[in-house]
Symmetry: C2
């Protein structure tokens, strides 16, 4: 047996990790826009990146290095360093070359506007403000935000039966351009667990599928999405099941927080699909629901329009039958296997559920036992406002 | 050689066709909500229907009849007769049974809210108002509208070299729930060309791919989408190439009008994708662009944010390379094969293009010669407004 204890400290919760955020003048009014994560000793790295063919320069830079360990991650917001070609990769080399001597094999990660060269001089000057002895996880989490309205952090201490323990902590940013089908947005996880690189990568791959890849804000997949897990093994302690559970909790929490803070979102909706032909088909349905504009606008309007849910299930491509389908909003069943009993009283009950800031839509396809859970949000005026004029 | 001449008359342009619209009290304030198309003689039918697994009762009713000819189509708006099970199909039988004796094998088609039984008595009373000698194509086109803001009709007279001629005319409704990947929305086409059923179906299938299936408003696929082509062969005249060209023109026009009148849309944007690995990949890219929320909101904001276009191309799944991609807004090239030359002057020029109510975004992938053209619109506050509260 083991125990997971939620603690403070974000990416600095694990032994030997430091982090801070500073202002390099990319965001207006001296808001923090550059962060670092530093480890006293070298770290094994597990990672998943965007599947977007226009992957940003930092991702190409990382992949070109092949197998390596690092003790430093530099992150900037406001500029994605995407569509910047070889020049963008060279910019990273030049920026990283100015870091202190005790930094080794530094990695860079960026988020923001696409198609503009990074302001190299500002970033180099910003990096000079870093104090590697600082443990300011809040400042780091704040510095990586773009259209996020709150920063996202979480950490666990994991106590094992033999009395040993290790820590895992993380920070993430999300908001827009978030979509299933890959490792979404930026997320940095640090741990002092004595876990091997291969083992870490396995845990990461497995959990990303049911957490970040099950989360959707707008169905668009960014050029910069990154989930990075760094271990310095400092605790000397490890247990696979405990590590996996802590990692799942962390990634699920951050994925849900990301959706809750989706651009313009006012509701966090869980789509629990069951009874599908298989898990893959359940996933197709759950993601179709969480991405449907008609469903998302109905959520925003707090309109229990279950017909749109049925229509989206039918359009998803998965096997589905009108007479086998059931739909519920929390515990209010609005359609059951061909029975039309949606009357005024039920509409009132369903409307009450839809007024909640967090609820679950259950969709049972009634075919076999395939299941999947996805996370989505509503889409309202604010999303349009944010995205109609993001650059200017 | 042959000549296509644009004429008035919509679905009544072809010889022997009659149509009208009446109010059955489904829409408020006696707005027209029921239409018919009647032919003096029996018609061969070509059709394409939604791929949605929750296909509405009228579509199931049609498909169950197997092979047949008809001389009558009854259409209602405001209620989709979808998710209504066997009861919904029985409702259709009961309504059609009340039609005049000279009506044979009547077909019904519905559009509107999902999951509510049709108001049978109102529809039966409405059908009694039909005068089968009326040629009122405008009234019919108006009666089938839901959230459309204008009615959509077009007709051609086709003159052949041998002095013979035939006609094709059509009406359509669109607005929301429109998506590539199937025969979208409601469209009724009538012709007096002496074309066989099989030949008609071939022409319809071919043209639906590059017209209605290339049009997107919101990426949602309705339960009721129908394109129906009726021929009474009355002219005795036919030429395959001429028929195909007229049909293509009609379907392309209506598909584009549908997108122009997309819910809340202010712009009609053509996505011309070229240089893809093959036509299929070009289609994937073109449809990804026309469906991307980030692209659609940038269009609404008249923001020449070409980075979102590049990112969407990259996320589409099609083969694509940053250094081979080129992007233009009309004749303003904003990104060319890795060159970053988007300066203030170019931004101004691109912004001018984006202020137009109709323009083309060119995307050359620079790989091979695969090409596809899709039609899309922007997404603004009005879409949210319409869809956040459609039922109530």
């Amino acid at each position: 047996m083991y125990k997971l204890i939620k603690i403070d400290g974000g990416v600095c919760a694990a032994d030997g990790f430091y982090a801070d955020g500073v202002s390099a003048g990319l965001k207006p009014e001296k808001a923090k826009d550059m962060a670092f994560i530093y480890s006293e000793s070298m770290c094994a790295i597990a990672s998943t990146f965007t599947t977007n063919k226009m992957a940003a320069a930092p991702i190409k830079h990382f992949k070109r290095k092949g197998e390596f360990e690092t003790n430093f991650v530099l992150i900037n917001s406001k500029n994605a360093n995407a569509m910047t070609g070889e020049a963008g990769i060279k910019d990273i080399d030049e920026i990283l070359a100015t870091l202190p001597e005790n930094v080794s094999n530094a990695v860079m990660s960026s988020t923001g506007v696409i198609g503009v060269r990074v302001p190299k001089e500002k970033l180099i000057a910003g990096a000079k403000l870093f104090d590697l002895s600082k443990r300011e996880p809040n400042a780091a989490a704040e510095a990586i935000m773009t259209t996020d309205t709150f920063s996202k952090q979480i950490a666990y201490k994991v106590e094992l039966e033999d009395g040993s323990s290790f820590h895992i902590g993380a920070m993430a940013k999300g908001a827009g351009m978030i979509n299933p089908a890959m490792a979404t947005m930026l997320c940095f996880i640090t741990t002092d667990a004595a876990v091997s690189k291969d083992e870490m990568q396995k845990h990461l791959n497995k959990n990303v599928e049911v957490t970040f890849n099950a989360a959707s804000v707008d169905g668009d997949t960014s050029t910069n999405d990154t989930v990075m897990l760094l271990s310095n093994a400092k605790s000397g302690s490890y247990n696979s099941a405990a590590f996996d559970e802590a990692l799942y909790n962390i990634m699920r929490f951050l994925a849900r927080e990301m959706v809750r803070d989706g651009e313009g979102a006012t509701k966090l909706v869980t789509y629990e699909v069951s009874g599908a032909k298989d898990d893959k088909e359940a996933e197709i349905v759950a993601k179709a629901l969480s991405n449907s504009l008609l469903v998302k606008t109905a959520l925003y309007g707090e309109d229990p329009n279950w017909g749109r849910i049925a229509s989206t299930v039918g359009a998803s491509g998965a096997e589905a039958y009108e007479e086998k389908l059931s739909i519920s909003f929390n515990d209010v069943c609005v359609y059951k296997q061909g029975e039309l009993y949606f009357d005024a009283e039920m509409e009132k009950k369903a409307s009450e559920v839809m007024k909640l800031s967090e609820f679950t839509i259950y969709c049972d396809l009634g075919i076999a036992d395939g299941a999947f859970t996805a996370f989505g949000c509503d889409l309202g005026y604010e999303y349009v406002k944010i995205n109609a004029d993001y650059r200017t």
